[in-house]
Amino acid sequence: QAEKATPKQGGTLRVGFLQGSTSDSFDPATYNNDFMFVTNYAVFNHLTEFAPGGAIAPELAESFEAEPGAKVWTFKLRKDVEFSDGRKLTAADVLASIDYHRGEDSKSAVKPVLAQIAEMKASDDHTVVFTLTTGNADFPYIFADYHLCIKQASDGKIDPMSRIGTGGYTVESFEPGVRIKLKRRDSYWKEGRAHFEQVEITTISDTAARMNALMTGQVDVVDRPDLKTIHLLKRAPGVRVETTSGTLHYTMPMHVNTPPYDNRDVRTALKLAINREELVEKILRGYGTVGNDHPVAKSMPFFDPAIEQRAYDPEKAKFHLKQAGLSSLDVQLFTSEAAFEGAVDASLLYAEQAKKAGINIEVVRQPSDGYWSNVWLVKPFCTSYWGGRPTPDWMFTAGYSKDAEWNDTKWQNERFNTLLLEARAEIDQNKRAEMYSEMQRLCRDDGGALIPMFGQYVFALRDQVQHGELSEQWNLDSLRFVERWWMA
């Protein structure tokens, strides 16, 4: 056992992923699936990374610190880092890489988050100073995001398609939508990382095929095994299933500005009419926990365990309906497997449960194709998911604040929005905790999101693949397994 637990160099890691598409490219602004996320973390480095246990740790930055008020942040860079073509990393590379996502014509998903940077400059070759518009105690977290990889700059700009990074691996071949082959760099600056000699990541979008590939030993790691059959997969020789519970959660956003969802009692009735335990049991096969209609996960800072868990209560739901002046309720729930795996089944189950509360839910399945542009943010009641954000501030800002781009419930709560701004700049951790607790309650009781469950990240691997303590932010050791794991 002890022998297995010590990292060993060598071997080829073969990975099978659900996602991956022919439209994939190395342009960090367009990364949109696990395949590219993982590739990104293998080939490039970031200013910070998630350490096991959920803490934020410096990566390319040697250290970072804030001036009081958390408005000005100084990041010191490592001096020994080389790109795979031998060039040394400098502050110019960092500035250009971040700038790429900030510009007027940026198409990057992190553009809204980076809007808080009022100014950034290099005070010397290895120091970068950020000045923010408002104080943000959680600022270093954003640099762990996969979009913000550091590429080489020339004339203050990066080549977005460039494959030259500072990471532990270099790209040997890449066929978008099919597979990528990575090769270990001998001169990787990070100690004790990048153990595999070669890594081959293949897109296996068919779930059964992915599991078969794992069982027949054609791949060593797969993501998202089929939960329906996971009990059977566990029995397969040489295979083990592991989980991490991160911030992933499944939601059913209601537009609070659209009748009947504009009535708080109706929303509450709908929230009470769902049997969360049964959903976790049948849809997630137990690989998850019940949600409490707010997006803060147990593992996140400032989660308030004191808030009462909402339970399935058809009678109380009926009561709330009556409060709203209704004896029964007919609603349409738009859904698709694109929302999350099992979304359609979850909706169907919910519909069956809600019948007991006098609520008729018509499940309208939509084409997977185009779901995010046609349904999400468009239909007043649908299924969706959030990968989650590492901090409550970031999570709330992205999906619940009044001018969030992805405010999928159209929720506009005055008190909540004020608290959000106050809490962000607050340094006193206790006060912060209080504020975040109130925001969680507001979200739970007044918000438009029905959040029935938090999902665990589930992955399966062959026995010879070993790893240390896992980081839980995202799937597969926060997407960093390529450089963190090893072959026993």
Partner: protein, 319 residues
């Protein structure tokens, strides 16, 4: 012989027109689909601003007509343009995939066609016997099951239970031929099972159809054996419908194997096409669509020409 070439010429000309219409239709279809490449790639995390910026970068803000003719102009010169999604030349993208697709289709065809014809002939020979019934039932069961299910069953028995063949067909262009065959064995077998029944049954039906002809009776009156009657006398006269069904199935093998490609992770054109459609990568959709349509038209043409060539009545000039 001359008439054949005239026919081929005419059909090719018509084929080109069909291709144009198909490409235009596909273009319009993809344009009409909600969402565009910019939206699809940015996905859930898109904001209107970033989508607009991306659109501009991709040139998607130009009028559709202009983009179509730009592509068409290139395509006519053999340049399919570059994939908007990742800036790679489409022809390069296509050529590898096309090779793979053709390899798989050829593999499945070389197994299934002779097998289907043989079984069809034997079924016609021993029609209504146990053998015939059995052949039919087995073949029908395989067609009645969806391709993915056939694939799963094969994987279960030939890859998981008994590790004879790999369940993933991740082939590389550089692999030796034997390796290619080994790796694509299961997808090919799946396809064989899927297309067998149609061809076999048509062979059987076509042969039985001519068995009531006077020349078959004549052959029997000449004392020819049953096998010879079927092979030498019935088969040549039943070829036209058989050729047509074979062509149809070949077209399917080239064009319609997305599901099998997905299950076996076989990097063929089908996956590329579906991927491109879901991402609204119009140029790629167009180009693959064009290849598919061309394959279909070409196979149909070949079938028609073959039916003529194998029919002396249509071939030789009249006396």
């Amino acid at each position: 012989m001359g008439r054949i070439w005239i026919l081929v010429g005419e059909r090719l000309a018509l084929g080109v027109i069909t291709l144009l219409v198909v490409s235009a239709l596909i273009f319009v279809g993809v344009e009409l689909l909600p969402g565009d490449l910019a939206q699809e790639i940015l996905g859930q995390s898109a904001t209107p601003e970033t989508v607009a910026a991306f659109r501009h970068e991709l040139g998607l803000d130009q009028p559709a007509i202009q983009r179509y003719f730009h592509w068409l102009l290139g395509a006519v010169q053999g340049d399919f343009g570059t994939s908007l999604a990742n800036n790679r030349p489409i022809s390069e993208l296509l050529s590898v995939r096309l090779g793979n697709t053709l390899f798989l289709a050829a593999f499945a065809a070389t197994v299934s066609i002779p097998l289907a014809l043989t079984l069809g002939i034997l079924a016609a020979l021993y029609r209504n016997s146990i053998f015939d019934r059995l052949c039919n039932v087995v073949a029908l069961i395989w067609v009645s099951l969806p391709e993915f299910f056939v694939a799963y069953v094969l994987i279960l028995f030939l890859a998981v239970r008994v590790a004879l063949f790999p369940s993933l067909s991740n082939i590389d262009p550089g692999m030796p031929f034997g390796e290619l065959v080994y790796r694509s064995f299961l997808p090919a077998l799946t396809l064989v099972l899927v297309v067998m029944a149609h061809m076999m049954r048509m062979t059987r039906a076509a042969i039985i159809n001519v068995l009531a002809s006077p020349y078959i009776e004549m052959a029997r009156l000449k004392g020819m054996s049953r096998l010879r009657v079927i092979l030498y006398h019935a088969l040549p006269n039943a070829l036209a419908p058989i050729i047509n069904v074979v062509a149809l199935n070949l077209a399917y093998l080239v064009v319609g194997v997305v599901v099998v490609e997905v299950v076996f992770v076989y990097p063929g054109l089908g996956q590329l096409f579906v991927d491109a459609v879901t991402h609204r990568d119009v140029m790629v959709v167009q180009s693959v669509g064009l290849l598919f349509a061309a394959a279909y038209i070409l196979l149909n043409l070949i079938a028609d020409v073959l039916s003529i060539v194998t029919n002396p009545r249509l071939m030789g000039e009249r006396r």
